[in-house]
């Protein structure tokens, strides 16, 4: 039926064999390598001066898109730990670093819980091409596996063929997609979907929206309006606003997150394309500054390439050797 995904799906089913966690690690291999190199370089021993130590580790964190503020904090922490300890061996410092990194990410480890609200409304937001529509396809499968009845709302009425793209994900999941016409009113379509969901006793509605840059204030205002309209249907809705961020993006992800949070009260983050980039370090900066839950990681283009976020796994996957 979906012959055009043939090649990809074969690849996916092969890769799935090792199980979820190793698949995640596999997708984070690049990140891990980078950190491992960083560590072995910076932990070479006590001959390394504090200045050099600081320089190397900070440099490597920065290179992984961790960001200046978060990097400096981690480095400062390591230096003080090093000063306090009599043993300055690498394994010990690695432990200190591990703990420090897990501490930063731990508060963000909050899985998405679908409450009893019916329909539970999830609004997807983010900049252009971040992976919103693809994540919806994956999330729908994930929620169906939990026994939920899921409906999709094609709220991206701007991008060419965005509706068709979401429809394909609907077909793959064999779930209904409520859509209007290209150029139509996004809020109205989502509102229609909510009514249809109620009539059809759906558990969850996931609403797609057009990508928009956080600097486009009129489009951000439109997003706020979409949220207001959803609120008219159910004052508690949307129950979850998921901000989709591309892991390949640099420090600008922080601005994106802040602006989307201001416009729509983001309640969770999905970090996509972790299979493709050597980094993922922006997660630390996001965790430090915004303390938003990181709900999922995107690790590929196929329907099963979605992972729950787990702080220990994430950090362990960064540092585990071989």
């Amino acid at each position: 039926m979906f012959g055009f995904m043939r090649k990809k799906e074969e690849a996916v089913s092969e890769e799935q064999k090792p199980g979820l966690f190793s698949r995640l690690k596999q997708s984070l291999t690049k990140t891990r390598q980078q950190f491992t190199i960083a560590l072995s370089q910076s932990l070479l021993g006590s001959q390394v001066s504090d200045a050099e130590f600081l320089e190397t580790i900070e440099t490597q964190l920065l290179m992984a898109d961790v960001g200046v503020a978060a990097s400096e904090k981690i480095v400062a922490h390591l230096i003080s730990a090093r000063a306090k300890q009599t043993t300055q061996d690498a394994p010990h410092l690695q432990e200190v670093l591990n703990t420090a990194l897990v501490d930063i990410l731990k508060p963000c480890e909050q899985a998405l819980k679908i409450s009893a609200h019916k329909p539970y409304v999830i609004l997807m937001v983010g900049i252009n091409g971040a992976g919103k529509t693809t994540t919806i396809g994956k999330l729908a499968k994930h929620l169906q596996a939990e026994g939920k009845k899921v409906m999709l709302a094609a709220g991206d009425t701007f991008r060419a063929a965005a509706i068709e793209q979401l429809s394909v994900w609907g077909e793959r999941n064999q779930i209904p997609v409520i859509s209007g016409v290209q150029g139509g009113d996004s809020a109205a379509i989502i509102f229609d979907a909510l009514q249809a969901a109620k009539a059809r006793d759906m558990d969850v509605v996931i609403a797609d929206t057009a990508g928009r840059l956080h600097t486009q204030q009129h489009l951000m205002a439109e997003l706020a309006k979409i949220k207001r309209v959803i609120g008219k249907f159910d004052s508690h809705a949307p129950h979850e606003v998921l901000l989709v961020l591309d892991a390949g993006s640099g420090q600008n992800a922080m601005q994106q997150a802040k602006q989307f949070q201001a416009a729509t009260d983001v309640s969770g983050i999905v970090l996509t394309k972790l299979d493709g980039t050597a980094k993922g370090g922006i997660v630390f900066a996001l965790a430090e500054e915004l303390k938003l839950p990181i709900r999922f990681l995107g690790v590929g283009e196929a329907i099963d390439d979605l992972r729950a976020f787990n702080a220990e796994d994430f950090v362990a996957a960064l540092f585990e050797d071989k």
Binding site: G3, F4, M5, R6, K7, K8, A11, K30, T59, L62, M63, A64, D65, G67, V68, I127, N128, G129, A130, G131, F158, R159, A160, A161, A162, E164, Q165, S167, V168, W169, Q182, L213, H214, T215, Q216, Q217, H218, A221, K225, R228, D246, G248, S249, G250, Q251, N252, A253, Q255, Q256, K273, D275, G276, T277, A278, K279, I282, E301
Partner: protein, 455 residues
């Protein structure tokens, strides 16, 4: 975001001012500031390192002149080197080949390949009077072919239909034959997004390149990309003989350090920048402007050009006439607001002005514009035409309709009256054109405000 780098550089100036000359010792801190600034701007670390080495060797000793203090001299070195790194020439597309000339698009997922393919087609149709065929070899992403087809339809340009069960190279070959038969000048080949570490997919595009022998192979990259820009650019450049780079989504506020990294690592020119989602939002890349923008000098030229292109002269004249007759109404006000938004909003306009020319925040609030538009949308046609009608209960209705408060409505009406007054004044002096000229006149004759030297 761009301010940050220039702020850091200004700090550097302050630190160095008063020092007799630049030495290895006293520029340490300045160099560190530049390093952090560049990293915050997402310039890749190896590029930053190279850059700092050059700056260091140039800065020490020789280059302090009578006119520049040491801090300024240091900044000048940074600026010169940055500009040099961005390249010097403004590149265009090479169309000098046997038609149909093939342009191949390549890049990561979601970077903007399909949109940019359509933008390039429009540019070639409008500016070069070429006939352009579009074809999609993206057989993976759902509705990717349909996306390009929709854009081709919008452009009313030939589209070679393909199907998701076909092989990309086969599609491309057939399209080339069709383009040739139909006498098209250019064939633009869109491809699926791919990861540089996906060996199968990289092989696929290599094959595609071999089959098509494109004249232009363009790497499309998101300007918000972080450190990884260096790795991906290198991998794509190694796999394919790239002829140029297109930097997309520059209408955002990323400082665009990726541009520097990619330029340095591939040595290939950045030919165009994407400045919006619309099909005409593609501009030539000017290395000097980009470097200036990063340094906070403002992109005055681009602003003026943009304004000239977008402000429809006729519309302006129509408004001018209405003002003369005292007929400027809320509907016109709304149109004016929309025009500003189409130009990317005040934020985008102001970003292109040199630093120090920032208007007070109250004058530039885009949110306010959005609110104003919503209010006007909630009015009856009569109210728009005769704002004086808007009193008590009407105000309440308009506020409710637009999700605002009555004081907001009052503020908007006041602003409208001010604009009407201002426009009357401008109108006495001439047309909107004059207004633009006046804006130009506001610019300083050269050099950065705030004590920085003219570069």
């Amino acid at each position: 975001m761009f301010d940050n780098l220039s702020q850091r550089l200004q700090q550097t100036v302050a630190q160095l001012t008063g020092k007799g000359r630049l030495t290895e010792d006293n520029i340490q801190e300045a160099l560190r500031n530049v390093r952090i600034a560049l990293l915050e701007a997402d310039v890749a670390l190896p590029v930053v390192k190279d850059f700092l080495e050059t700056v260091k060797s140039r800065a020490i000793g020789a280059e302090i002149t009578q006119t520049l203090n040491p801090g300024q001299a240091f900044i000048k070195v940074v600026s010169d080197e940055l500009t040099a790194l961005m390249g010097t020439a403004n590149s265009t597309l090479n169309l000098k080949a046997q038609p149909p000339v093939v342009i191949l698009m390549a890049g990561l997922q979601g970077s903007g390949k399909t949109t940019t393919a359509a933008k390039l087609a429009k540019l070639l149709i409008d500016q070069e009077k070429k006939t352009v065929m579009l074809v999609s070899c993206d057989v993976y992403r759902p509705a990717a072919i349909k996306q390009l087809e929709t854009l081709a339809l919008q452009l009313n340009t030939p589209f070679f239909a393909s199907h998701s069960h076909e092989d990309p190279a086969t599609i491309a070959k057939a399209a080339l034959t069709a383009a040739s038969n139909q006498g098209c000048d250019v064939l633009i080949v869109d491809t699926a997004g791919r990861l540089h570490i996906d060996t199968d997919m990289m092989q696929e595009i290599k094959t595609l390149h071999g089959v098509m022998q494109p004249t232009e192979t363009l790497f499309v990259v998101d300007s918000m990309t972080g450190q990884d820009a260096a790795n991906t650019a290198k991998a794509f450049n190694d796999a394919l003989p790239l002829t140029g780079v297109i930097l997309t989504k520059t209408d955002g506020d990323a400082r665009g350090g990726a541009a520097l990294s990619i330029r340095q690592i591939t040595g290939k020119p950045i030919k165009f920048i994407g400045v919006g989602e619309k099909i005409d939002a593609l501009e030539a890349f000017h290395p000097d402007r980009m470097a200036n923008r990063i340094l906070g000098m403002g992109d005055v030229l681009t602003l003026v050009e943009e304004a000239k292109r977008k402000i429809d002269e006729k519309q302006a004249q129509k408004v001018a006439k209405k003002i003369q007759k005292g007929q400027f109404d809320l509907q016109d006000f709304r149109d004016q607001l929309k025009q500003m938004q189409d130009m990317g909003g005040m934020g985008s306009l102001l970003k292109k002005l040199p630093m120090g020319l920032k208007l007070p925040q109250s004058a530039v609030d885009d949110k306010m514009f959005v609110q104003f538009t919503a209010m006007i949308d909630s009015m009856t046609l009569q109210e728009r035409r005769y704002p004086a009608l808007i009193k008590g209960s009407r105000k309440i209705r308009i506020a409710q309709g637009s999700g605002t408060q009555v004081p907001d409505v009052n503020r908007m009406l006041k602003q409208f009256m001010q604009m009407e007054k201002m426009l009357k004044k401008f109108n006495k002096k001439g047309s909107m054109k004059n207004m633009m000229r006046q804006m130009q006149g506001m610019m300083p004759p050269g050099g950065m405000p705030g004590g920085l030297p003219p570069f």
